[in-house]
């Protein structure tokens, strides 16, 4: 039963996209994921319109002071278990906006982040790699055949190892 639960969770991660003050570079690359060329529906990933339906929150942008409250609220509206992926250099650490008076700088200062995908902007392949690494961290590969992400040239995605359901 627990196996079926984990299997279902890794096979159907529905994502919600949140822009916390990004320059739209990451967002365009993120939307490219859903287009026919990359087609993440292969992995069961669907873009959901409402935080209530989502399992994974994809955050882009450097988190402005105004946005941090909203980001927190959207995160709170998501049902457990939930994961956060920070996409782009700004979301990971604040990027070039680090130290700015109107910027919190980094998603992990507001909500807990599970996976970081750096890049300015990261390629769609890197994002797929990051999400697949997240899924493999939920369901360790030794139990099950690892999902093969398509070969990508510039992937530096890092995932925290202590992911719990």
């Amino acid at each position: 039963m627990a196996g079926a639960k984990t299997w279902a969770r890794t096979k159907s991660p529905w994502v919600l996209h949140f822009n916390s003050g990004a320059c739209n570079g990451c967002d365009i690359e993120l939307l490219a994921l859903l287009t026919p060329k990359y087609d993440v529906e292969r992995f069961g990933i669907k873009l959901e319109p409402s935080p209530r339906h989502a399992d994974v929150l994809l955050v882009t942008g450097c988190v402005t002071q105004q946005c941090s409250e909203r980001l927190k609220r959207v995160y709170d509206q998501m049902p457990q278990p939930k994961f956060v992926v920070a996409i782009g250099a700004c979301a990971c650490s604040g990027g070039v906006f680090e130290g700015n008076y109107s910027v919190v700088g980094g998603v992990d200062k507001v909500i807990p982040v599970t996976a970081y995908i750096p890049g300015c902007p990261p390629r769609p392949e890197a994002m797929i790699d990051g999400i697949i690494k997240l899924l493999n961290a939920i369901n360790p590969p030794k139990k099950q055949k690892q999902i093969q992400a398509p070969r990508a040239k510039h992937t530096t995605a890092e995932v925290k190892q202590d992911v719990k359901l």
């Binding site: 639960k5 279902a8 959901e48 339906h53 457990q80």
Partner: protein, 339 residues
Amino acid sequence: MIPMIDFLLIFRILVFPGFTFIFFLALFCEWIERKLEARIQNRVGPMVAGPSGILQPLADIIKLMTKEDIEPRDTKKWVFRLAPLTAFAIMVFAMCFLPIDGASVLSSGTAIASSGFNGDLIIILVFATIANFLLFLAGWASSNPYGTISSARVLTQFLGYDIPLFILALTPAFIAGSLSIGAIAAGFPYILLAPWAFVLFLITMQAELEKGPFDVPHSESELVGGLETEYTGAKLAFLHLTRDVQLVFGSALVVTLFLGGPSGPVFFGLDWLFYTLWFVLKLLIVVAISAYITNVFARLRIDQVLTGNWKILLPASLLSLMLTVVLAIWVYHPFGIGV
């Protein structure tokens, strides 16, 4: 005297062709639809969950069932909890009247023509309406602006399209001379005798199921998640299942009324197996046509949907009924066609 327990009937209701079969058929049809949609958009669709992603809808449902269930403070608690579940139950109950394996689920294995009773066609149409109304209540009770607007649109749309649907469903009933689903399904494939009604019925069914180009109640670009916006966990799973079963029900109704239901050649004396096979094959054809219409046409505005309903579809369905009555009385019945 101890009343006899009809184990065959219990098996038919719970396993085949009842609840379990309908459940998996609905998930299978969703998979077919998603794959077709992906191919039309030059994608491949779900690939990872099971062979060619066939288990994707099941994975979605299991995942939703095991997620946290949030009830926002302002919701009308009881309606919010019960509406998705009741809508699903009523849709499955409506499916049970259709002759999936040659007889309706609720009869314990008789011939097509004599299963069911006179008037059950009206009853299942009423069930479909009640399920739609429960979906409206589900959105209304979630006290979310998007859910409320979506609910209002559901109500506006189904109140309009129910009338043409009823009128068009009577077309095969007139030719068959009976309001019993069994008698209609056992007769002729009425698509050959009333092709105009078949085309109109398909269009009306698209609108009744809120599929494109009539999917204004859950247009994502305007209404976020539509009436499902506030739903999480198991309740959302039941809303999804209701949509899937509605799709199967609509297609099954088209099959039963116009494509001869489960009728087809039967070999080796395995009536139920071949009847189910023909029924599901015809059902998949209708699902494919429906998915094609959904993906090829752009979404209409709500005013265009209503204009199309009251100014075009309602008069057209009335004309269709008149034509059918004339043909049935003066052409088909005197020559013994389709009775």
